[in-house]
């Protein structure tokens, strides 16, 4: 699904911040991406998300070399991925329902077609009573769950989550992790970037990708 071969990245003429990254992410797999703050976890996720271009090496997504994908085909690739940002990136003027339905709306689907599906997902993440609430009145945990629901609504093949439990208490973190595990069981490959060791210990079977000094170490 995702393949990196000797990927390196530098900003401008600065030093290489990611060096010789070579790894794969298999379909329906579950992994944590970890490492100290500033190790480059978010940068690596941005490389997968196609919002950064590597300085060298080869990145392949869903079987295609990303450097060969036509610009107008990038959106189709991006639609196969769901992403949960550390800062949620919910639209404050839209309701929780509208925010979660956004990936379907931008694909041109009619509300009548997806309404029941969105409401069902909101109930599943525990936001059934917050359908018409706008993000400014939601708590941190609620916003995080809305962001997760938005990432999942289009049933992506790959879910990328950047510090999804960074703003919530341990019990909420555990609840969110169960959501990701559930999604993974339903067929989505999951990559969770975190430096929360306690969180990773709750799911010992998961693969670990550890970033340090710009290099990646994989522990299967």
């Amino acid at each position: 699904m995702v393949r990196f071969e000797n990927v390196g990245l530098r900003y401008g003429m600065g030093p290489e911040i990611l060096k010789d990254l070579s790894f794969t992410i298999a379909p329906q797999s579950f992994q944590f991406l970890t490492g100290p703050s500033g190790a480059g976890k978010t940068t690596l996720l941005r490389l997968i998300l196609l919002s950064l271009k590597p300085t060298r090496g080869l990145i392949s997504l869903f079987g295609s070399d990303v450097s060969q994908i036509a610009p107008d085909a990038l959106t189709a690739v991006r639609r196969r991925m769901g992403v949960v940002f550390q800062d949620f990136r919910l639209l404050d003027h839209l309701t929780t329902f509208e925010n979660v339905a956004l990936p379907l709306r931008v694909q041109g689907q009619e509300e009548a077609r997806y309404r029941s599906e969105v409401i069902e997902l909101l109930r599943w993440v525990g936001l059934g009573d917050k359908i018409d609430a706008i993000p400014p009145v939601l708590s941190g945990g609620e916003k995080q769950r809305a962001a997760i629901a938005r990432a999942l609504i289009a049933k992506p093949d790959l879910l990328l989550a950047d510090e999804p439990t960074g703003n919530v208490d341990p019990s909420m973190a555990q609840r969110l992790l169960r959501l990701f595990v559930e999604m993974n069981r339903m067929g989505t490959a999951v990559v969770i970037a975190t430096h929360d060791i306690a969180l990773m210990n709750q799911f010992d079977d998961a693969r670990r990708l550890v970033l340090g000094d710009g290099r990646l170490h994989v522990y299967d």
Partner: protein
């Protein structure tokens, strides 16, 4: 041959004309539907770009002010151009014959015979000779009243009014007069008209240059204000991009939002300009009786802007609104470029 003449109607051309008309109507309908859809957006859904915020209101204000100024300049230029044409036309409808007094000749008799000669020329509507008293009266503002003009060799004037749209053979008339009366000259105001035309052209050129400058300033002000308002929406652009919206979709959403803001600001500024000209027209009408009012009307007309003035105001407002939408599209495209 008339196209509608049944005897000469070519069926091939008639068919093509009908086809062309149908095609144009369909295109106009499609363009109208596109504009309505662009402004209205998808039904039953909240707009993806928030319709009301501080940056949006500030942008509407900037657009309104710049539209007002641009409309003011455009209509003023139009009024000046129209007034300049009126000056030229009014001067070009008159000619003057000057008869100098010469010892041994009866000037009244000469004037009378010149009037007869001038009246016989084609295109002359009216011939008005100034009497001795009238000619002396013309000098009073400079020499004062109560003086005896008998000792002064005061020339006599004959004013010729030309029929509208007629061309008078001024060279022939001049030759006919000077052949018989060497002390008489014909002034067809050609030098004046040439100077007036040059001045009018300069005034209109300056006015057009001013309109151009104001439009460029408007475009820049609107562009920078739009970019400023867009900066606050970058997070929305990013969110839409990462949830799988195409660049065209995002650009359309922002274009719609900013077109509506542009139309609001343009309509506000255009209405203010129309109110201003309406008030100026009203003020000029009430002031018309005074000497100053007459001078103003001679110089600038009656401040009535007419259909072309209304059209200019509407065009300025529409151009500014579409410019706002265009700048938003360019800014969105550039911002999305940085995201990939």
């Amino acid at each position: 041959m008339s196209m509608t003449d049944p005897q000469h109607t070519n069926p091939v051309w008639t068919g093509r004309l009908t086809q062309w008309r149908t095609s144009m109507l369909t295109r106009c309908r499609d363009a109208g539907a596109w504009c309505v859809a662009l402004i209205k957006g998808p039904s039953n859904t909240l707009p993806l770009v928030p319709s009301e915020n501080i940056a949006g209101r500030a942008l509407v204000t900037v657009i309104a002010i710049m539209t007002f100024l641009a409309a003011l300049t455009a209509v003023s230029a139009q009024m000046i151009a129209s007034a300049a044409t009126d000056w030229q036309t009014s001067v070009a409808t008159e000619m003057t014959i000057q008869v100098r007094p010469v010892p041994g000749r009866n000037i009244d008799q000469d004037v009378s015979r010149i009037v007869s000669l001038a009246s016989s020329f084609k295109g002359i509507r009216e011939v008005k000779p100034y009497s001795k008293q009238e000619s002396e009266k013309l000098l009073e503002p400079w020499l004062g009243s109560g003086l005896s003009f008998d000792v002064l060799p005061i020339p006599r004037l004959i004013v010729l009014k030309i029929e509208d749209g007629s061309l008078v053979d001024s060279a022939g008339l001049r030759k006919a007069i000077t052949d018989q009366w060497r002390h008489a000259t014909l002034d067809d105001h050609r030098v004046w008209i040439a100077r007036l035309a040059a001045m009018a052209r300069s005034v209109v050129a300056v006015a057009v240059a001013l309109v151009g400058l104001v439009m460029v300033a408007t475009a820049l002000a609107v562009a920078f204000a739009t970019r400023g308002a867009m900066a606050g929406n970058r997070s929305i652009m990013e969110a839409l991009h990462f949830v799988g919206a195409t660049d065209a979709f995002i650009a359309r959403e922002f274009e719609r939002h900013f077109l509506i803001l542009g139309l609001k600001g343009g309509a506000l500024g255009g209405c203010l300009a129309l109110v201003f000209f309406g008030a100026a027209h009203l003020f000029a009408s009430t002031w018309l009786g005074s000497p100053g009012g007459e001078q103003m009307e001679t110089l600038f007309g009656s401040f009535a802007i007419g259909y072309s003035g209304y059209l200019a105001v509407v065009m300025v407002a529409i151009v500014v609104a579409f410019l706002t939408a265009l700048v938003s599209r360019i800014t969105v495209t550039r911002t999305l470029g940085t995201l990939t």
